[in-house]
Amino acid sequence: MNGDRDLRRRLRALRAPSEAEAEDRSWNVVRAAYAERTPAGTTRRAHRLTLAVAVGVALIAIGLSPAGAKVADLVRDVVGVGEQNARPQLRALPAAGELLVESPDGPWIVRADGSKRLLGQYGDATWSPHGLFVAAADGRELVAVDPFGNVRWTIAAPARVADPRWSPSGFRIAYRSGDDLRVVAGDGTGDRPLARGVSPVAPAWRPIGDSKLAAAPGAPGSNTLTFVDRVDGAKTVSTIDVDTGAALQTKPADLEQLSTPPTGGGARIAISPDAAKTATLQRLGRRDELLLEREAGGGKRVLFSAAGRLTGPTWSPDGRWLLVGWPDADQWLFIAADRPHRVVAFDRISEQFDPGGSGGGRFPRVAGWVLPER
């Protein structure tokens, strides 16, 4: 049949836009994924041998490399000599759960065994509270994908989407679209504006279970949002119950949740999942300190101190580990909150999240650590 033949010929003649470049980009990612896999048939003995060699290499690297020197400094400064090795490749996380990591290529999910998956070319990713979905920005779209990268829904916003934040209840996602603050239900329905003319600062949901913040309305379980508004040209912090629209009093702890509150600081505080502990990064001269404060009292305690900047912190889902980034050393450090002498360090973090080398070595940002309920 002529129609069949013509259609076959036409379809085969089609070329997708920028096909060759797309092939190059994809090959870089696939090659990196292949390089990280463990070939079948590797015996346990071989694993042990590889591990022994890797540890040996890491020990030598620690002694010789600048990054290693920093780890050695850290060990001396904080926990005594000879305790830590920076592992050259991201391996099993010290606690259960999965990390969401933002890189120049897009968000990655890091599983508990250290394996990684690039979700796609999205920006500003946020976990749903149970780790079932990730919401992210894609130009003028807000996208929800599952942890395998399958798109579950998308909505088109009036302007470029930024800073989506999934509420702790799971039922709402707040995001900025241009100068507007908007909210949409977790299933992608009911998208609506919340405020117009807001500042370019990520909104922050009030955590569930924080007794410092428990008060009705806006009590634990409700959807209470803090954001930086602009009233007559001046920045103002507002807190509202997004379901009722009721304006609530902004509390100091609400301010702490904002990444860049008008009062300065921000994004350097993380409340543990059980709300019993607060981790804070504090600048002290040219060093950053990681402080831990328990709700039960006892004051702040220095867990860790390092030359340069630290990023994060991020709590593990079981509340026992803290993940901080150390861009100057290109490392991630997992620090046991109750036993700070236990530090698990991973090296070459930028490279591991930029397999194509297109991101200019930018240090990735940890956007969350959840225990998926799958």
Partner: protein, 212 residues
């Protein structure tokens, strides 16, 4: 300076991504004719990055084009094809080499593309500014620089549902039989045939317009 220095510099001059890629693909194809997919999969399972590269370049373009024709969006098609290969890497050790590689890859690719296109369609129904985003897809499909793109045919394909597009792509781009398509998409053969007929009917004006 040696007399042949200048030609050597010319040879070493930067190559465009497209020409470098074409060269690599041609080389891979020339080598690959003698090596079957099963052999490449076996070698890749044993840790040969060269074998994987050959397998990738042998199959990527068709997977990418299939995804592109189903979703009508080049970026999404790139993600889908890439994710399909990543899925292949993850399952590489479990892959049964007696089975053909391409249908397995195409099954993943096309089903992912359908999921993506359906999600987009749902999004368009809820769009805040109706029409805006569907036009993005059309504009992208007809973007300048995609010189071989047949705008009429792409536009006609866009009018079909993702499920119909997938059946057309599997039959006329990837050359599967209706029975194989049914297996790939989990559809009865009769449904595949009716979708093919309906798809062909809708595409016929665009195809005959171009054939003229």
């Amino acid at each position: 300076m040696p007399p042949n220095a200048a030609p050597a510099r010319q040879l070493l001059s930067p190559m465009s991504a497209q020409s470098a890629n074409s060269l690599r693909i041609s080389l891979a194809r020339a080598r690959g004719r003698a090596r079957r997919d099963g052999t490449l999969v076996r070698d890749a399972q044993r840790g040969s990055a060269d074998a994987l590269e050959e397998l990738f370049h042998r199959h990527w373009r068709r997977a990418h084009r299939a995804a592109f024709l189903v979703v009508g969006d080049a970026s999404a098609a790139e993600d889908i094809a890439q994710e399909s290969f990543l899925a292949a890497i993850r399952a590489l050790d479990r892959f049964d080499r007696r089975r053909p590689f391409a249908p397995w890859l195409h099954r993943i690719t096309v089903n992912r593309a359908i999921d993506y296109a359906r999600a987009r369609a749902l999004r368009a129904e809820r769009a805040i500014a109706p029409g805006d985003e569907t036009r993005v897809v059309e504009r992208e499909a007809a973007a300048p620089g995609s010189d071989s793109i047949s705008e009429e045919l792409i536009a006609a394909l866009t009018e079909l549902s993702p499920d119909h597009r997938a059946v057309i792509v599997l039959r006329y781009l990837l050359d599967y039989t209706p029975g194989e398509i049914g297996e790939t998409l989990g559809l009865p053969r009769g449904t595949v045939n009716s979708r093919l007929r309906r798809g062909l009917d809708q595409l016929r004006p665009a195809v005959s317009e171009e054939a003229r």
